[in-house]
Amino acid sequence: MKLLTLNFLTCAIKTCKTSPASFPLHPRDCELEVVESESVNLPFLKNILPRLMWDELRVIADELGLPALPSTPPTRDDLVEPSSSSTTTISHAQNAGNAAEGQQQAEEKPSQTARDLHRVLLETCIKEGKLVCGNCGHEYKVMEGVANFLLPGHLV
């Protein structure tokens, strides 16, 4: 389970939804694995920044014992390797679809900050462990990378 997924999940118990403490869920006793993906999706990383609940993400990283995230989120410019954006456009054999967009972005290279963010959000996965609600304390298990949010009958 990717850490970015936690940006979109809360406790499954109805009465917790109104409590700010039900987000984020707190990882506990987690075994992590790094699943490397082919490439850093720079346009995605730039656009996702405003959707990231940064303070909550910092809490999660801290609780997992990962290197501390900076206190403020990176900017779009922080994600681009400084030398790369000025490179002259070299025209590649044009692939079908979005050629113009592709050309422009192909010249930008992800910075170390972008690679680090990619690693935290999309490559660092919870393999086994628990996710705990900060409001009610309910523990959700993660097994073989799948989080289980099913509740016992009396809590539904």
Partner: protein, 254 residues
């Protein structure tokens, strides 16, 4: 025509096999009219990446299709996909379906999050969903006894495979919808205003003729000012009992 994701790795003894309903969803979200609607809503390249949530992913064929064809359907590829299913075997199978589809024919990769084992969208953060997709268990048939769920949702202790009884139960979950086939769908419809993004959220829900779709649509319009619902796809033009349709639900500035 956009390619259909492979589900050859999925065990259909305990996970719903893609059928006419699944394909109607694929055809509808990629139809020229829906793609135009969605592009209009989401094409702004600098806006934040839309989150697509599918509840009850089953084999994952629909979510995988959306993930791999995001550029054609939404006009952008920086799209997030998230799924849920009550069946843990479906969760694992669907993850594989989405990952392989993105790898095999995503000309530009969208970003797959996870499939979580969850009742409907109960663990999804409020107002975080931009495109919601749901193919409910819509057959008017008695709901399975959920008290067995915990034991049937995992492999029996010490065993390598599921039992026949377990498989039957898991498949029942994928199609049995109780009275009018609407018991599960109604629970989900109730959650939709809560999970959809308040500005750009849109939901696609499949209904069959026995679900009394016109009644369902009337109820949705009664949610409050601005709520819209329209049939945007249908199949089985004969008056068969399983005539299917896809409704699009969204909110306009009231």
């Amino acid at each position: 025509m956009l390619p259909t994701p492979s589900t050859s790795h999925v065990c259909f003894d305990r996970v719903y096999e893609p059928a006419e309903d699944s394909f109607l969803l694929l055809d509808t979200i990629s139809s020229s009219s829906e793609a135009a609607f969605l592009r209009e809503r989401f094409h702004e390249a600098s806006s934040t990446p839309p989150l697509i949530l599918e509840v009850g992913v089953g084999s994952g064929v629909v979510l995988a299709f959306a993930a791999a064809n995001a550029s054609s359907v939404l006009g952008r590829h920086d799209v997030l996909t998230l799924g849920t299913d009550i069946n843990s075997f479906a969760c694992k199978a669907a993850s594989q379906t989405v990952e392989s589809a993105i790898k095999d024919f995503g000309c530009k990769p969208s970003v797959f999050l996870d499939i979580v084992n969850c009742d409907l969208a109960s663990a999804v953060r409020s107002h975080s969903v931009d495109v919601f997709i749901f193919n409910p268990p819509y057959v008017p048939a008695e709901l399975p006894d959920l008290s067995r769920h915990q034991s049937f949702n995992t492999l029996p202790a010490g065993k390598e495979s599921t039992t026949f009884e377990q498989d039957s139960y898991l498949l029942e979950l994928s199609y049995a919808g109780g009275e009018d086939g609407m018991v599960v769908a109604n629970r989900m419809l109730e959650q939709i205003p809560e999970i959809l993004d308040e500005e750009r959220g849109v939901a696609y829900v499949l209904l069959c003729a026995q679900n009394k779709p016109e009644e369902v649509k009337r109820r949705i319009r009664d949610w409050g000012p601005g709520w819209m619902v329209e049939t945007v796809g249908s199949s089985g033009k004969q008056a068969g009992w399983e005539k299917l349709q896809i409704v699009r639900i969204w909110k306009t500035a009231a």
